[in-house]
Symmetry: C2
Subunit: 274 residues, 2 copies
């Protein structure tokens, strides 16, 4: 399922998309779990930020990691594509145990990081065992394809969603975030209509999917994760001149998982925590 292969024979690191809402995440079990994964207090974690509407948010996450007694936290800011070629920052990324990718306006992530040396470094190091978390649009950006923009609504319409290239850590996965309060099923279903080999994941706020190297996904956090399997999907024709018309989509398999539940992304099988 992953595009990035471990060239040195290492086990790939975890991929941890988080549904957003920084305030609650910083208090909750998700960061703690990520820190444990990265080695606990001895971990070195890099917070990666591009242009953000909240310039202080990077410092707040830095403090949250320090509150969890992480020894070394590096805050890396990439404002332009040229920044993403900095040898010094690439060296930092070579030494960290985990990366925490902050959200931004979606196009900025793709436009700033896409196909740069930083993006290539993150892919290679994840394939060799470094863990990568991303929150909000930083979560959507982790797979090969991302939802770049879209509207709310339960019913899919051809014009409800725009896709863009993602970071490429994992293939055949479409991630949507801030899911619970923004009624995003329609745009996720429409994205899957364009990518019927992918699994769709809708992350509530303060909720994360910890995806291991074996393609096992475990839910951590206070909300739910909606998992849509479109492998049996059929849909009606999409007319180029009627892109706002609703589209029939039949044969979807839907699971909603909460903390502790598991999903096998290879076998498409959910297991509820007992």
């Amino acid at each position: 399922m992953s595009r990035a292969k471990a060239s040195t024979g290492g086990t790939r690191g975890f991929i941890v998309p988080i549904g957003g809402d920084g305030r609650r995440i910083r208090k909750a079990s998700i960061l703690r779990r990520f820190v444990q994964l990265c080695g606990g207090s001895r971990a070195h974690i890099a917070i990666v930020a591009t242009v953000s509407e909240m310039p202080d948010a990077g410092y707040r996450y830095e403090r949250a990691f320090r509150d969890l007694r992480v020894d070394r936290v590096s805050l890396l800011r990439f404002g332009t594509r040229a920044d993403c070629e900095s040898e010094r920052d690439l060296e930092v990324l070579d030494s960290v145990d985990g990366i925490f990718l902050m959200g931004s306006e979606t196009v900025h992530l793709s436009e700033t990081l896409g196909n740069t040396s930083v993006a290539q470094k993150i892919r290679n190091r994840n394939a060799q065992g470094m863990h990568v978390a991303g929150t909000s649009t930083g979560a959507a950006f982790l797979p090969e394809q991302m939802i770049a923009s879209g509207q709310s609504g339960t019913t899919p319409r051809a014009d409800i969603v725009e896709l863009a290239p993602g970071l490429g850590l994992i293939g055949q996965l479409i991630i949507d975030q801030h899911y619970r309060h923004q009624d995003r099923l329609g745009r996720l279903l429409m994205a899957l209509t364009y990518n019927p080999l992918a699994i769709g994941i809708g992350l509530d706020e303060d909720t994360a999917a910890f995806i291991g190297p074996d393609h096992g996904l475990q839910v951590v956090g206070s909300g739910g994760i909606t998992i849509v399997n479109p492998s049996q999907l059929q849909h009606s024709a999409i007319h180029p001149d009627r892109r706002h018309a609703p589209v029939s989509v039949i044969g979807l398999h839907l699971d909603i998982l909460v903390e502790g539940d598991l999903y096998d992304l290879a076998a498409h099988r959910a297991t509820i925590k007992r």
Copy 2:
């Protein structure tokens, strides 16, 4: 699937839940289709209203039916349970070809009409061939059970929905309305967790399900219908003291249908219009 049986050997009438938004319905194809079903210009249609937040709405539907050249339109208002024993109104219901049930605050429908002579009359006459449409909460009220109140959100929680008895025209169906713009998947899924033998139907505004006596459902209108089949459903335990906690729900089958598409409620099979 229906509770009311045709005692005189007639074929039961259509049941037509409509997702709401009176302004668009009055202009659109849904009323026209309902009038055709009832016999066209020679039809006699009763508009049934209980307490409404918009007291003029009954007159507007009356005019809409007259604009469709329906000869006889009777506007029946039932403000109290005592009103629902009126011999004169029961005689009108005995002679009509179709009933159009207006929306109201949900509890009013159940409290005013539930288990009255009017409710019994509508059940009996529907079993003998009279057609029954309902819009907004009037749609949700048609089956044996209805969603009486609930919150928005995609993720099911035990406290997200309250159920109440419906009119009882059809069993094993839970209908939710105003679906597209109000993010009601979570409450529909929670209602199905309590009723796993039922099929869940989420109706967008200006969209109707024409359900025939053979349990075939056809979509009419400008939006979509979300159909959730929980027959393979498993869910996590619901703790009485944690009713706001999200609930795992796995094994759901989801179809989204648009105008012209069909769903067989007995066989649980969707067919897309070609």
